[in-house]
């Protein structure tokens, strides 16, 4: 199998094949913990770390493990990576660890990770596998953070609240109140808000894609006026 270039991997992870808004994988944590930026950031970091570790490890053992038992092996690898991440968070961001709760262990079942392990890492060398994990993790993380920011902003009228959970006491005053005296719009923070904003993000991505395609089509040279064309049925593209 041809190994894609690093540029392609970046583009795939961040945009063209984004795990969250194109593949629609890992929707459970995506919808459940994006109530605020700090939660989203915490989960994004944890998921990226797990994705990188599991992709690299799977790539290392790809020629040793037989096809029949590969999935259990992948899951074991992912579960160990998740356990390490969980312990790290317990050590360095204990409050955030409590807030994220069950969604940290549940990273194990996040389909993005098993999906990348099976679809990419088990077929490519360590370098590309590592980089694929990084770019997919970043693509997932960016969507998490954007969603968290949108929901926090609409839900509470402020951004970056409680960042000290992740960055220590120095970040306690990072909270940025955009609208003082804001009436909390609970719907944005509750689950329906997650679904609505995810849908809007997907729609926004499709809109941008369509604009790009339209621009490319416009750049294509128009047929010379008066040129003779072979008569065909259907439309000429």
């Amino acid at each position: 199998m041809k190994t894609p270039s690093y540029g392609e991997l970046t583009l795939n992870g961040l945009w063209k094949n984004n795990p969250a808004i194109v593949q629609l994988l890992g929707l459970c944590p995506l919808l459940a913990v994006t109530g605020s930026v700090v939660n989203a950031l915490g989960l994004a970091a944890a998921t990226t770390l797990v994705l990188i570790c599991s992709n690299t490890a799977v790539s290392i053992i790809r020629n040793v493990v037989s096809d029949a038992v590969r999935l259990p092996v992948f899951v074991m690898i992912i579960a160990s990576a998740v356990t390490c991440t969980e312990l790290l968070m317990q050590a360095f961001a204990y409050e955030l660890y409590l807030i994220l709760g069950i969604f940290l262990p549940l990273i194990t079942t996040n389909c993005v990770i098993l999906g990348r392990a099976d679809a990419f890492a088990s077929k490519h060398a360590i370098g590309p596998a590592f980089y694929d994990g990084l770019s997919m993790g970043l693509g997932f993380g960016v969507v998490l953070i954007v969603l968290g920011a949108l929901r926090e902003l609409l839900g509470t009228g402020a951004l970056f609240a409680d960042m000290n959970l992740l960055f220590g006491p120095a970040a306690a005053n990072w909270k940025w109140v955009l609208v003082a005296d804001y009436q909390p719009f609970l719907l944005a923070i509750l689950p329906p808000g997650a679904f609505i904003f995810t849908g809007l993000l997907i729609a926004g991505k499709n809109l941008v894609d369509r604009q790009i395609k339209r621009r490319q089509d416009a750049l294509r040279a128009a047929p010379v006026k008066g040129a003779k064309r072979v008569r065909v049925t259907g439309t000429i593209s």
Partner: protein, 341 residues
């Protein structure tokens, strides 16, 4: 001579969407008058402001979807949604609350699903529920009826809507709240509270009777069939009768109280009769209405919200396609099982 081939149906009703919608608007008049008499101009200001926002949202959505503006704006459907939402919202609601509700109703519940005729949920009720779960404080504040408090005038109503910070709202528990939260008084004793009138809450009973009158007129003009409203009222009455238990402190309230409280009549004739989001077959409408009536009682008696019609309607909207699937009428010439006749 050329014959134009036209497919069936060959006989058309003369009712256009616009004329049906116009009749619904006219039928809300008695209810709105009753609301205005008992609770002041709040509901009227709600309706007018909601209508302005609704037309703006509709125009925005139509422009974005590249649909002809004039054609769709003239079918009054946005105005009907706005009017129903304006009636459902508590009077003296601030302008932004109404605007958010209307925008959710028109943009999200209606146009995101494909516009008029494609919405699986009743837009006005989606708007109401969005507000209810987002702003519970503002949404559960209902003004006291005439006789128990001063009824604000038009100027005060406008101030409450557009300058909410400068307006001191006077609010009171609704009779439904009183009955649900009561756990120490017999209903008979509870009824001595000035909030209660002859059959239900002061004001509320007349508001409900006014909406009943408007609904009966719509029924007479055959805007909708009797099945869904009658099934809803019957099942609500039956549930209330089952759990009435003679009026103890745990009683849910008499059937008459439930029929004439809150949004019962308004819901029965103006909300669940929405032809798009309700079940369509005759048996389906009976089941649909009965489901709503039962849910209204369940949520009123054991739920946490001031009234239950909006949630009940949304849950029933969910089930409408399912109900329709199992109540397809037998088409002529076919046996019930769909096999050979």
């Amino acid at each position: 001579m050329t014959l134009i081939r036209i497919s069936s149906p060959h006989a058309h009703g003369s009712d256009s969407t616009a004329s049906v919608m116009r009749r619904v608007l006219i039928a809300t008049v008695p209810g709105v008058i009753a609301l205005t008499w008992f609770f002041g101009f709040g509901s009227l200001v709600n309706i007018i402001w909601a209508s302005l926002v609704a037309v703006a949202c509709e125009a925005l959505a139509l422009t974005l979807r590249r649909k002809p503006l004039g054609f769709y704006l003239q079918d009054y459907s946005a105005l009907v949604t706005a009017t129903l939402l304006g009636i459902a919202l508590p009077p003296y609601a601030p302008w932004w609350l109404i605007a958010i509700g209307v925008a959710s109703a028109i943009l999200m519940a209606k146009h995101l699903y494909g516009g008029l005729g494609y919405n699986p949920f009743n837009p006005a009720m989606v708007g109401y529920v969005v507000l209810l779960i987002s702003f519970p404080v503002q949404m559960t504040a209902w003004a006291p009826p005439r006789g128990l408090g001063e009824v604000p005038g038009l100027l005060q109503a406008l101030q409450a809507c557009f300058l909410p910070a400068q307006y001191d709202a006077v609010t009171m528990a609704t009779p439904l709240d009183m009955v649900r939260q009561n756990n120490s008084l017999l209903l008979e004793d509870l009824w001595r509270d000035p909030l209660f009138g002859r059959w239900a809450g002061i004001g509320w009973e007349w508001v409900n009777l006014a909406f009943l009158a408007g609904g009966l007129w719509l029924l007479y003009r055959r805007v909708f069939s009797w099945h869904a409203p009658v099934a809803m009222l019957a099942s609500l009455g039956l549930m209330a009768a089952l759990f009435y238990d003679g009026g103890s402190s745990a009683s849910g309230g008499s059937p008459l109280f439930h029929l004439l409280s809150g949004a019962t009549m308004f819901g029965a004739f103006f909300i669940i009769t929405d032809p798009v989001s309700s079940a369509v077959s005759v048996r389906g409408r009976l089941i649909f209405g009965a489901l709503i009536g039962t849910l209204v009682y369940l949520i009123r008696a054991w739920g946490n919200y001031p009234d239950a019609v909006a949630f009940a309607v949304l849950v029933a909207n969910f089930s409408a396609p399912f109900i329709d699937h199992y109540t397809q009428p037998r088409s002529y010439g076919h046996s019930k099982s769909g096999g050979q006749p």
